[in-house]
Assembly symmetry: C2
Homo-oligomer: 158 residues x 2
């Protein structure tokens, strides 16, 4: 719903939410990722209302996360991930890992991932891109960066 626009906050989390924070958006992205990339396929797969699906697709295309590719002389499109969108899938992979661990219950994870490099069923882990050691919530200190608090007159964020 999001009446408040998060994009103006000096916070990359808030800005990212402006792109995929709306309800259904991550699931639309997931569908495109796994190859469900036409309107009616997605609609059927997700059970989302057609109106909302239209809005989400338009928004994701505007944001440069998806691209429309015509596949017919009529205005018929397939949606595909851009580079920006492909990198956003990292987020889905981490959501999957967390959901698998904390929410899957006795049935176990609904989907497994096989890693091409090693051929194993595995999941994703977060590492420091400098030293390669694990990097999680308690392993870091936040410091103000160059883009901090850009609008002095603004009300609040962090």
């Amino acid at each position: 719903m999001q009446r408040t626009q998060f994009g103006a906050m000096a916070c990359s989390i808030a800005r990212t939410l402006d792109v995929i924070g709306e309800p259904w958006s991550p699931l639309v992205l997931r569908d495109v990722w796994v190859g469900i990339n036409r309107f009616d396929q997605m609609q059927a797969d997700l059970g989302i209302s057609r109106k909302v699906l239209t809005e989400r697709l338009d928004h994701l295309v505007e944001e440069g996360v998806l691209e429309r590719h015509p596949y017919d002389r009529r205005p018929r499109f397939e949606y595909r991930l851009t580079q920006k969108g492909t990198e956003l899938v990292d987020l889905l992979m981490v959501m999957t890992a967390w959901g698998d661990k904390w929410l899957a219950g006795e049935a176990g994870p609904p989907v497994l991932y096989r890693h091409h490099a090693c051929g194993e069923i595995s999941s994703v882990d977060l590492r420091c891109d400098h030293c390669g050691e694990p990097m999680h919530a308690t392993d870091i200190d936040p410091l103000p960066g160059p883009g901090a608090a850009p609008v002095p007159a603004a009300v609040s964020e962090a």
Copy 2:
């Protein structure tokens, strides 16, 4: 808003969205993570409506992501991350990395992270927890897992 409950879908992404998919929830989590953990502090920091903040905090506590710690004889609470919540911060770190790369613009990232292990300003990278090689969207194949499609009578998901 989310009239549709995602939690019933056989998809860890959808289930995770049920926990933190509502508007503001990730930002509430971020605040608690960085030490803004009382009601009025969060309200002031985010500019969220008090009603919605109450709902989000209640929900996150119910889901076991946050814990209430009294700090007064009156019913006054600090909110803290549980283990489940701390691991969910991984998601925020990945959102931050993506937002820093694609949305920060010329000003640069609003916040930097210093990694304790190496002392460097760095960001997070996704690795296979088996072989340690990079693991991104195009490096994996999804396969059906043990918890796939639990309700044969159900309508749709993936």
